[in-house]
Symmetry: none
Subunit: 248 residues, 2 copies
Amino acid sequence: MTEKRLYHTVANKLLELIDSGVFPPGSRLPGERDLAKRFGVSRVSIREAGIALQAQGRVEIKVGSGVYVLDRSSLPVYGLPKVGPFELTEARALFEGEAAALAAPMISDEDLVRLERLIEIMTGEVEDELGPVEADAEFHLTIARSTNNHAILFVIDSLWKMREEASQLQEVYETVCHKDHRDREDEHRLILEALKRRDSSAARIAMRAHFSRMIEALLVESEAQALREVQRKSSESRSRYTLSQQTE
Amino acid sequence: MTEKRLYHTVANKLLELIDSGVFPPGSRLPGERDLAKRFGVSRVSIREAGIALQAQGRVEIKVGSGVYVLDRSSLPVYGLPKVGPFELTEARALFEGEAAALAAPMISDEDLVRLERLIEIMTGEVEDELGPVEADAEFHLTIARSTNNHAILFVIDSLWKMREEASQLQEVYETVCHKDHRDREDEHRLILEALKRRDSSAARIAMRAHFSRMIEALLVESEAQALREVQRKSSESRSRYTLSQQTE
DNA sequence: GGTTTGAAATGTCCATACCAATTTAGAAAT
DNA sequence: ATTTCTAAATTGGTATGGACATTTCAAACC
């Protein structure tokens, strides 16, 4: 209990208050100056505690407003590596393929109808509070969940979070996904059909095909993007050149 | 690049310096006062950056000594789920099997001799700074690393950390591993042989066999453990009974 | 009623001074 | 020459006080 760093003990006391319900998720903590007086420490220590808690994903600090308690359940796994689109898709192809194969013999009927509905949401046939992107995530997570294996669920959840992490990566994904949304629908249906038949190896193949097509699309897209980049840079240097011509 | 919080930009700059090799893992970075002058900010901001980095597990701060760079792959990832031995081993069988299959065609000769050496360390033939347990970890991580896929490396690293997380789980593993250490050696050699031949499917099969045997052993062990638990509880309730007899 | 404005609250940052833990170097003893 | 001990230098930790930027919200205004 007797921590060495002051900010650490402050952070722990705050966590106790949060966990004991004094500061429920969503609520706002007292101001720095207030807390400093209450704990009998300086404002610096309070703020350091806040930074530490923020780094742990327990609170959110909004400048000029205050620090707000976050919901513990939605804590975003820190230490996720920065990965490129190809690495990520390759990993997903392998791991989600295996997850689907494992899930096939044991998936429940409820989950099967849930998958059906999620596909309809993605295609836009059905409106829902879930957006099409969230539905896509839920599709893959539902399959992972039906393996009844927390480690597998964690892995696939982490892979999805990596995708969300890098905004640049997300852009690439968006364009790829929306371009061939018809292909994606077909692939999702093939996966679902294999699961319905409780066919492990078909499920694995279908899932892999889904990601293989994605890698193909990524190749095309990254090529086009590289081309645009070249054009942008050359036009940039051209305008800089004309600019320097004018100023001299 | 222009973050809003000052300590955040400082932290990012430090991370760049660390990742670019200016401050390699294990090294000590300049003192607060030095860094403050260098970045043109106050000491508090430097320390706040340090706290943030520490919370992310990237550095270790020792009072009176300095802040030291930690090995990136060695620690972080909070929010690992608690998983049982069976779940974990099942997940490892699937995922590490695929990783081995992917690594087989592209693994370097240096990594192959490294794997050879690691097996020898595990069997005790060779002494090393690495213990046998660490060698086991390194064996699997080396294979994962040679896929050249950071996402895959992350997953397999995470799975190993889950094993280390729960002490109870570790006990079970220890007993299982040491009981049939001869089997384990053979299995590791089979994996290595498959990799040497660049045979993807053989590598996958060998890796899966390794974990399948583990699951078998776990079944036996958990049975024995369940038996012990029953005995413990019954003897406990018996002693409680005699105790309540005495006090009344 | 809707918009603008301005004061209060709040987080952010800095400079300085002092404290406590650690390391280092040099003197002293062997 | 080597070891041991002590004191100074170095380093991170904390406190204080002030200045600044952003946000919030209610009063004032059109």
